[in-house]
C-alpha cells in the first residue's frame, strides 16, 4: 500500500469554501482522509511525509483549453511534453483541443489521444472533440459516439462555427445528450485583422479585430440557445461587452458559461506595441478597460473558468512580421502564477481564483474532480503563493517558447504536483 502524508498544509477546498490548517493522507492514489486532527495519533506506517510548511494544498488544476502538436505537429509539442509542462504548472488535468492533423473528429482519434496520453503523459488528458467534421463548419460530428469514447465536449477550437444553421442544430442535437458545445466566439467575416481594433492598431498600421466580432457571435448563439436548449460555453471572452452580455444571459437563466485566458487577465493590447508576435492571440488582447472588466467578471462569477489556451508555436511561424505570424501563446506553466497575480493585487480572493481552476471546470465538463474530498483520486497541487521568481523561457518545459510572460516577475507557483497519488513534479527536482 502506497501512502503519502501531507502535513502542516493550508488545506483549501474551493468548492466548499473549506480552508483550514491541517493534514491530508493519500492512500493508493485516493484521498483517504484530511483535516486538522488527522495524525494526532501519529503518522501512518510507511508513509512518505511531505511537510507543507503552511503552504496551500489544493485540488490539482484543470485546464479546459490546451492545444498540442500531437498528432501532426510533434515538432511544436507532443502530448508527453505538454503533460510535463502541465505538471510543472500544477495542472493535473488538461483538456486538449481537436485542432490537430488529423482533426480529432472521430471515435478512433479520441481513442488515440487517450491512449497516447495514458502511455506517455504524466497528467490526466481528456479530449474535446471537433464540433464539425474536419473543423469545416458544415456537418456535425458523432456527438453520441464521441461522448461514449470519452470526449468531454465539442468545439472547433480556434475556429468559430460561423454557420448559424449548423450551430442551431448542434445545440439542439447536443442538448438531448447533455453534451457541452464550446464556441470560439468570433464572427470570421469581421475578424480579419491581427490585433484589437483600436487607436493603437491605427498607429501601428495593423488591421484590427473589433470587439463586435465577438459580441455578435455570442449574441447570435444566445438567441439560438433560447430556442434549442443545450449547454453553451464561450471558450474565451476578451472584452467588456461580452462579459455584460453573458452576465445578463445568466440572469435570464440561460445555460451559458464562459472562460477567460490567464493572458487576457494579465495583459492588454499595449503589450503589442513593439510588434511582439508572442502577444498575438486569438481572441486578441484588448484594452485595459476590457481587462479590468474580465477580472471583475471573474470575481462576480460571470466568468466561470480560467484557461491557459496553451498553444505552442515554433519560431518559423512566430519570428515573422506581426501580420504574418501565427496566433497563439503557451501558458500551461504560467496559468497559476498569472492567476495568483490577481489575488496579490486584491482583485480576487484566493478561493474564488482556485475555484475557476478546479471545481468549476470539473463541473462544467462532468469530470467529478477538482475537490479535496475523501474518496476522490489524489490530484493535488502544493502552492507557494509567495515565492518571487522570474520567468525564463529557457526553463520552460515546452519545446516551443512562445510565452508572452518572458522575463516577467511572478509571485507564487506550484511547487509539487500529484496526479492520482503519483508525484509528477517537485520544483527544483526533475523526475
Amino acid at each position: 500500500m502506497s501512502r503519502t502524508a501531507f502535513i502542516n498544509a493550508r488545506l483549501i477546498d474551493p468548492a466548499s469554501g473549506f480552508e483550514e490548517r491541517g493534514n491530508l493522507l493519500v492512500e493508493n492514489g485516493i484521498i483517504a482522509d484530511l483535516g486538522p486532527a488527522l495524525f494526532n495519533d501519529g503518522l501512518p506506517d510507511g508513509a512518505e511525509v511531505v511537510d507543507c510548511n503552511g503552504r496551500v494544498l489544493a485540488p490539482g488544476l484543470i485546464d479546459c483549453r490546451v492545444f498540442t502538436g500531437e498528432p501532426g505537429a510533434e515538432h511544436r509539442e507532443t502530448l508527453a511534453l505538454a503533460s510535463k509542462a502541465a505538471a510543472a504548472g500544477g495542472v493535473t488535468t488538461m483538456i486538449v483541443m481537436p485542432n490537430t492533423n488529423p482533426v480529432i473528429d472521430d471515435v478512433a482519434l479520441v481513442d488515440f489521444i487517450e491512449r497516447r496520453a495514458r502511455d506517455t503523459g504524466v497528467v490526466h488528458v481528456h479530449t474535446m472533440a471537433a464540433l464539425t467534421k474536419g473543423l469545416e463548419g458544415r456537418e456535425m460530428t458523432e456527438f453520441g459516439l464521441l461522448l461514449e469514447a470519452g470526449a468531454v465536449g465539442f468545439t472547433d477550437g480556434v475556429k468559430a462555427v460561423a454557420n448559424a444553421q449548423v450551430m442551431r442544430r448542434a445545440l439542439s442535437y447536443a442538448g438531448h445528450l447533455g453534451a457541452l458545445i464550446v464556441q470560439h466566439a468570433e464572427e470570421p467575416t469581421l475578424a480579419t485583422g491581427v490585433m484589437n481594433e483600436s487607436e493603437l492598431a491605427g498607429r501601428l498600421g495593423l488591421a484590427g479585430i473589433p470587439a463586435i466580432a465577438e459580441t455578435i457571435m455570442i449574441e447570435r448563439d444566445l438567441r439560438l440557445l433560447e430556442t434549442t436548449g443545450g449547454r453553451y460555453h464561450v471558450a474565451q471572452v476578451s472584452c467588456e461587452a461580452s462579459v455584460e452580455i453573458i452576465r445578463k444571459a445568466k440572469t435570464r437563466g440561460l445555460p451559458v458559461t464562459c472562460g477567460v485566458s490567464a493572458a487576457h487577465l494579465q495583459l492588454n493590447e499595449n503589450d503589442v506595441q513593439s510588434y511582439r508576435t508572442f502577444f498575438k492571440l486569438s481572441p486578441p488582447l484588448r484594452a485595459e478597460q476590457d481587462r479590468r472588466a474580465l477580472v471583475a467578471g471573474l470575481a462576480d462569477g460571470t466568468i466561470d473558468v480560467i484557461v491557459s489556451s496553451h498553444d505552442p508555436r515554433d519560431p518559423d511561424v512566430k519570428r515573422r512580421p506581426f501580420a504574418e505570424a501565427d496566433f497563439g501563446a503557451i501558458g500551461l506553466e504560467t496559468l497559476l502564477p498569472a492567476a495568483l497575480a490577481l489575488v496579490h493585487n486584491g482583485d480576487l480572493p484566493l478561493g474564488r481564483m482556485l475555484a475557476a481552476l478546479t471545481c468549476l471546470p470539473s463541473d462544467l465538463l462532468g469530470l467529478g474532480r477538482g475537490r479535496l474530498v475523501t474518496g476522490l483520486p489524489a490530484d493535488l497541487v502544493l502552492i507557494d503563493t509567495e515565492v518571487p521568481w522570474r520567468l525564463e523561457a529557457a526553463n520552460l518545459k515546452s519545446i516551443s517558447k512562445n510565452t508572452p510572460f518572458e522575463d516577467r516577475l511572478f509571485q507564487g507557483r506550484a511547487i509539487r504536483t500529484m496526479v492520482g497519488g503519483r508525484t509528477v513534479y517537485v520544483q527544483g527536482e526533475e523526475r
Partner: protein
Amino acid sequence: MTSADKQLSPLFPHRHLLGIEGLSPSDITALLDLADTYVEQNRQVDKKGSVLRGRTQINLFFEASTRTQSSFELAGKRLGADVMNMSVSSSSVKKGETLIDTAVTLNAMHPDLIIIRHQNSGAVELLSQKVSCSVINAGDGAHEHPTQALLDALTIRRRKGKLQGLLVAICGDILHSRVARSNILLLNAMGARVRVVGPPTLMPSGIERLGVEVFHDMKKGLEGVDIVMMLRLQLERMTGSYVPSQREYFHFYGLDYAKLAHAKPDALVMHPGPMNRGVEIDSAVADDIDRSLIREQVEMGVAVRMAVLDALSRNLPNELPLAGGRA
C-alpha cells in the same frame, strides 16, 4: 555596434530611421536643413559628393517600387556609396527563407546602410533588430514611410517658408496609408494642423486621437486649408469592398478645381505618387504648375534621402571593427 551606440552625432542621434514616431522637432529640423543643402548640390553639374565613400548601401525592397527605390539609389550614389538593389518578390519569401534569414544573410555581407520596404507593418523594425548596420524604413505596410513625410515637409517648407501654423488636409485612403501616418506625426510635431478627409470605410478607428480633425465631406474638409495632400487609392479597393466604385469615389473624393476652390486661394496640391489620374485627382489639377507640387516632391525626395543617409552615416563606426566584431 557598441562603438556606434557610444557616440551618436548630436545632429541626428539615432541609429536607424524606422519612423517619424520617436523623432523630436529638432531632429526633423536638422534633417530638413541638411536636405536644403542637398537640393542645391543636386542642381549643380557636379552632383557627386563623398560622405558615403567606401560605404555599402543595400536597397532591399519586398514590395515593388519605382520612385522610392530609384530615389534612394540616386541619393546613395550621389553621396559616393556603393549601392546594391535587391527586389525580393514576396512569393519567394513566403516559400521558404524567412524575412529574418534574408536579413541575417545580407548582414553578413557587411553593409553600412540597408533601406527596406516591406508589405507588413513592423517588418522593418523587426529586421533592424537582427542587423548591425543602420536601417531606413522605406515603407512598412500601413505603418510608416518616414522619408516621404520628410520630403513632403521639405517641399512645403520651401514653398510656404514654414510648417508651423499651416492647415493641411490629407485626403483619401487613410486606413491603408503609411504616408498618411508619417505625415500626421510629422506635421503635428512641427506645429501644423492636420485634417483627414475620406469616406468612413477608409478611416482607421480612433484616428481622431492622433490629433487630427476628421471630415467625410471633402468640400468642408478643404475649407481654408493651405495644403491639400492627396493619397493613392489602390484600384482593387474601389470595387465594392471599401467604396462602391471608382466613379462614385471620384465624384466625392477626387480632387478637381471645384473642390479645390474651397481651399485657400494659394493652396498647394501634393501627391506621393504614383497617381491614378481621374480617380483621386483630376489631370488638370495634377499638372497645374501654379498649384501642384507633385514634380517638386520627387526632386525633394532625392535631397531628403541624401540628408537621411548622411545623418545616419555619421553614427556609423568609423574604424574597422575587429574581425568578427560585426557578426
